[in-house]
């Protein structure tokens, strides 16, 4: 695959000798205001810049998943995706901010929230908040991010960048700090889908270190049909609904056949997702026991239970909530009612969505609201918070590849739409969004590193 997009531009331009030195300083300065990065290296190597979400390991670089319990953890290896991208000459520019362990939709479950580049009083989205902000700030850059229930689409939409979540299993998870193993996917954010396609080709493919990674051909079965699921647009804000209708009009004019359908199972995808993800998270977080990885409980005279409980004081409140609920749904007395039933309902939802996806894309707004103000989301209850994920959860729960791309600006804020296709048809998404980019210009307020 040939370089295109910003990567091709960057590699084709002659750069001043101190370019990477200046880029580093510029990123550091802007980080004071936007908090996109948890870590920026002292010196940048030459190459096209890439950032890494802070739940993905980079050898010798502090990797915390924005959690106190991992503070000081220095992975002795690179995650497979990081190794593959480094080997192709890309330049690592830092670890990006996120909700602790990926637990959040607004990037506020961290020490200092990342700020939306379009309005600093607003959230960047989450959980890959810093990845989206970095992409919106830096002109030549690609972000390695991760999604469990919408952590790529959501911030990509709020920050006006392209966010790609691949088919589950298409990209190795080795070196990712697990949130929910059956849901986590490592993906990408960029300013153009062409850059995403180029780097996805480098990252994808089976990895002996991840038994859930698969070696399947990634297809490009294009469709001229788009299906809108009524339950996915019924609860969105009025201004977004109007704007989405106008997007459908534009796509129709470009030759797509639009149809509407009902899928009542969408309504239960939220609870199904949260039951499965919390069950898996509650077991994954048990490995942080206070004597290896990050935070240390120094008092070795304590008995194991007290020692372990002391270590777990370092979890944030949302992490504690999810451990409690995940442990609850796995309890023998209720396991069949919650955990096992949620797994069956996931099978049902996959079947129902595949019936639609066999000859059509599914399209929806990415988020039901515009990027909200930080002070407003702090007042939401957890359930109100979870319900805002209703559009990004279905493809994530079912492992379908999807892309969020900017398609409009309302009150100066970017709005994203999410296109979904069948398992392992990821390349068709690239074709779809490339067609869109040929007719629409994305807006950016900042262009750090411009040459």
């Amino acid at each position: 695959m040939e370089e295109e997009g910003y990567i091709a531009d960057f590699n084709g331009i002659e750069k001043p000798g101190d370019y990477f030195h200046r880029l580093r300083d510029e990123i550091q300065n802007y980080n004071e205001k936007f908090h996109a990065f948890n870590f920026i290296p002292e010196k940048l190597e030459e190459g096209f810049p890439f950032s890494v979400k802070d739940n993905i390991c980079v050898k010798g670089v502090e990797t915390t998943a924005s959690s106190r319990i991992l503070s000081g953890y220095l992975p002795p290896f690179d995650a497979t995706v990081v190794r593959r991208v480094k080997e192709k000459g890309f330049s690592f520019i830092g670890k990006t901010n996120m909700d602790e362990f990926g637990f959040g939709s607004f990037g506020i479950n961290t020490d200092i929230s990342a700020r939306n580049p379009f309005d600093e009083d607003r959230v960047a989205g989450g959980s890959s908040s810093g990845a989206a902000v970095a992409t919106a700030l830096i002109k030549y850059h690609i972000a390695i991010a991760e999604s469990t229930g919408g952590s790529i689409s959501n911030p990509a939409s709020f920050c006006g960048v392209v966010g790609f979540t691949p088919t589950y299993g298409a990209v190795s998870r080795y070196g990712l700090i697990d949130y929910a193993n059956s849901l986590d996917k490592i993906g990408l954010m960029a300013r153009s889908v062409k850059d995403i396609e180029f780097v996805f080709d480098i990252m994808k493919g089976k990895d002996e270190h991840d038994s859930t990674s698969v070696d399947r051909k990634i297809e490009n079965k294009k469709s001229r049909k788009i299906t809108v699921i009524d339950e996915m647009i019924s609860g969105v804000d009025e201004d977004i609904r109007k704007s989405f209708d106008s997007l459908l009009g534009k796509l129709e004019a470009q030759g797509y056949k639009i149809s509407h359908t009902s899928l009542k199972e969408i309504g239960i995808s939220g609870p199904v997702y949260y039951i499965i993800s919390m069950a898996e998270a509650s077991t994954n977080l048990a490995k942080f026991s206070g004597f290896k990885y990050g935070l240390k409980v120094e008092d070795f005279s304590l008995d194991y239970n007290t020692f372990f409980t002391n270590a777990r004081d370092a979890f944030g409140e949302e992490a504690k909530r999810r451990i409690i609920l995940g442990t609850f749904v796995r309890a023998a007395s209720v396991r069949a009612r919650y955990y096992q039933k949620a797994l069956s309902l996931r099978a049902l939802l996959i079947r129902k969505m595949r019936e639609i996806l066999k000859d059509s894309y599914i399209l929806s707004p990415t988020m039901p609201i515009k990027a909200p103000k930080i002070k407003d989301v702090e007042k939401l209850t957890p359930v109100q918070n979870y319900m805002l994920d209703i559009l990004t959860i279905p493809p994530n729960l079912c492992g379908f590849p999807h892309i969020s791309f900017p398609y409009d600006y309302i009150d100066g804020l970017p709005i994203g739409a999410q296109v979904i296709t069948d398992h392992f048809n990821d390349k068709a998404l690239f074709s779809f969004v490339e067609d869109w980019e040929n007719n629409f210009t994305y807006k950016f307020k900042y262009n750090l590193g411009e040459i």
């Binding site: 698969v214 939220g270 990050g294 304590l302 777990r312 039933k341 797994l343 069956s344 996931r346 099978a347």
Partner: protein, 89 residues
């Protein structure tokens, strides 16, 4: 969920909450379980989907792989004469 059941759950989770945090989280947990109960609206007897795609069980060769950077590994632990220090069992 009554207080006894909630406290039992906290013990299993090895979590300790202060009074205010306990009150807040207990209320949230009750509300979230109500949200989970929405799945009662649908009946389903399909085989559970442990993964979203078919994944064949894969075994790797049962052989030793050398990791030659012990020093980097031990950086993440407290050690005594190259033994990792941990709590009493």
């Amino acid at each position: 969920m009554d207080d006894t059941e909630f406290d039992r759950l906290l013990r299993i989770c090895r979590l300790r909450l202060d009074k205010k945090e306990r009150e807040r989280i207990k209320k949230d947990v009750d509300e979230i379980i109500g949200y989970f109960n929405k799945i009662d609206d649908l009946n389903c007897d399909l085989e559970p989907a442990f993964h979203p795609i078919e994944i064949e069980g894969r075994m790797r060769e049962d052989s030793v792989e050398k990791f030659d950077d012990q020093e980097a590994l031990l950086k993440n632990t407290k050690t005594y004469r190259n033994f990792v220090l941990g709590p009493r069992i």
